[in-house]
């Protein structure tokens, strides 16, 4: 179906970008995005993907909004405290772009639920807050051949990569099984930067423009400030995708 007049107006300031055009916009409208985690990263990623015209956005998070979330989780307002995150987020995203189909899932991602939750999506955005859940998402997406845009934050530090094995390393090739020693302090500017970059990676992949951070790890140290783009390689001994992986 061709873009409507309203859509042409709404997206006029992005469709003129090189190689985006009507074709890119239609591809974005036809896309289905799975956002794992509706916290700080998920807030920024979801807002920019909905605004850009992603057709279907599934938001998966079992939590309710807490007052301490509001320094960085910009999907929510003070009046949302105590509500299910995915319900409040769906309302906010629908109000931003009524054409986007928002699917709220108030569920925790675990080994048994992940494949069914993720199946049918074109891409997954990893906005989770534990390594355990991230590794579950990594393995489920690998099995389903769904690319993942990984980001993680702590303080003024952020990491980002585009993961789609076997063309790229998987998450467990370069992130060791080491948990941070404490719940991180995170200012909203860090999740805003990294969640926005996740949206940018998704938009590039879904519209077919530009290059992604495949086989690269972006490290953002806003405190210094410093941005590094590092090469990452598949690990033949990776427990998830290596030679000995189950």
């Amino acid at each position: 179906m061709a873009l409507s007049n309203d859509e042409l107006k709404r997206y006029a300031r992005q469709m003129g970008l090189p190689h985006w055009g009507r074709n890119g916009q239609e591809r974005l409208r036809a896309a289905s995005v799975f956002i794992a985690g509706a916290g700080g990263l998920g807030s920024a990623a979801a807002l920019y993907l909905a605004a850009a015209g992603a057709g279907r956005i599934t938001l998966c998070d079992p939590d309710t909004v807490e007052l301490s979330n509001l320094n960085r989780q910009v999907l929510y307002s003070t009046s949302d405290v105590g509500r299910e995150k995915v319900t409040a987020a769906s309302e906010r995203l629908a109000s931003l772009n009524p054409a986007a189909a928002i699917v709220p899932l108030s569920e925790r991602i675990d080994t048994s639920s992940a494949p069914d939750l993720i199946a049918g999506h074109d891409i997954a955005i990893d906005c989770l807050d534990t390594l355990e859940a991230r590794f579950i998402l990594n393995r489920a997406c690998m099995a389903l051949d769904v690319p993942v845009i990984y980001a993680a934050v702590s303080g003024f530090t952020g990491q980002l990569s585009f993961i789609h094995p076997p063309a790229t390393p998987c998450l467990e090739c370069f992130i060791p099984h080491k948990n941070p020693t404490e719940k991180p302090q995170v200012p909203g500017c860090t999740t805003g930067i990294m969640g926005s970059l996740q949206a940018a990676e998704a938009i590039k992949y879904l519209t077919g423009i530009g290059s992604t951070l495949a086989s690269c790890l972006l490290i953002v140290e806003s405190m210094e400030p410093r941005f590094d783009i590092l090469e990452i390689e598949r690990d033949p001994d990776c427990p998830a995708c290596g030679n000995q992986a189950a």
């Binding site: 989770l128 534990t130 390594l131 702590s154 530090t157 941070p180």
Partner: protein, 79 residues
């Protein structure tokens, strides 16, 4: 031999930078792994996820060479 360790974030204070705000000069012996070097500096390995050198991610069994500038990164998982 001399190597340079860099870090921001949570490792910054543990590293005790002396070259500039983020870098410490470290004298070590050839063949030492990053695990050994970090151990000698009293930096808990649980607080270091990986390192990078010349734009490549390295695991902690990496053996530095003279003059390497090695950035160490703490585990990051927040969302």
């Amino acid at each position: 031999m001399i190597i340079y360790l860099r870090s921001g974030g949570k490792l910054h204070d543990l590293l005790k930078p002396d070259v500039d705000q983020y870098t410490r000069r470290v004298e070590t012996h050839e063949g030492a792994t990053l695990v050994e070097i970090l151990g000698e500096l009293g930096i808990p390995l649980v607080m270091v996820a990986f390192a990078f050198v010349d734009g490549k991610v390295r695991k902690l069994d990496y053996v530095p060479t003279d003059g390497d500038v090695i950035t160490i990164q703490s585990p990051v998982a927040g969302g």
